[in-house]
Symmetry: C2
Subunit: 105 residues, 2 copies
């Protein structure tokens, strides 16, 4: 069965201290074994025209879709999401089974 990814692109509100949000996000993920991997990044390269205001990408990987579903509905995640929605100006979410074309040797 394919791995499943939860991808979130955001633009934070200007007054937000991003480091604080990241700490909460790291705490959430570290407490939940169901999250297999979690990486994120802040865009440093794309032209504004191409990134359209989005500044950060968050990418979680799960063993399977059921694990993502369990994570998404978990009280800790629901609580975090409610808070998170107040600190962002905009976001795009995509959730998808992973198709691997090339993986590291």
């Amino acid at each position: 069965m394919a791995e499943f990814k939860h991808l979130v692109l955001v633009k934070f509100k200007e007054e937000v201290v991003v480091e604080d949000v990241l700490k909460e996000m790291e705490k959430l993920v570290s407490e939940m074994d169901i999250v297999k991997s979690f990486v994120w990044g802040q865009d440093i390269e794309s032209l504004e025209m191409l990134r359209q205001g989005f500044t950060h990408a968050f990418l979680m990987t799960f063993e399977k879709k059921d694990d993502f579903t369990a994570f998404a509905s978990h009280p800790n995640h629901v609580e975090f999401s409610a808070k998170f929605s107040t600190v962002i100006e905009k976001a795009v979410l995509l959730d998808f089974p992973v198709v691997t074309v090339k993986s590291p040797a």
Copy 2:
């Protein structure tokens, strides 16, 4: 040095045969050793409100930022991108050094 990711979210134009575009993308990536890994996915889960019309995510990983820079300016990629821009309705690109919070055991 951190790995570097090139993330592309798109909505394809309605008449486009996505499989054909994917084949070209796979060809491009398979010909360039500089691309360390490449995965993609089609959203099957997010609410339309959350995914905002975007349907596909493409995610390439490079050993380092310089490799991404070399990839981005490579004639094969430039040629592909020019074509690619004609088949999409909209896109967001983010390019970022990877911060790993949690990696698979």
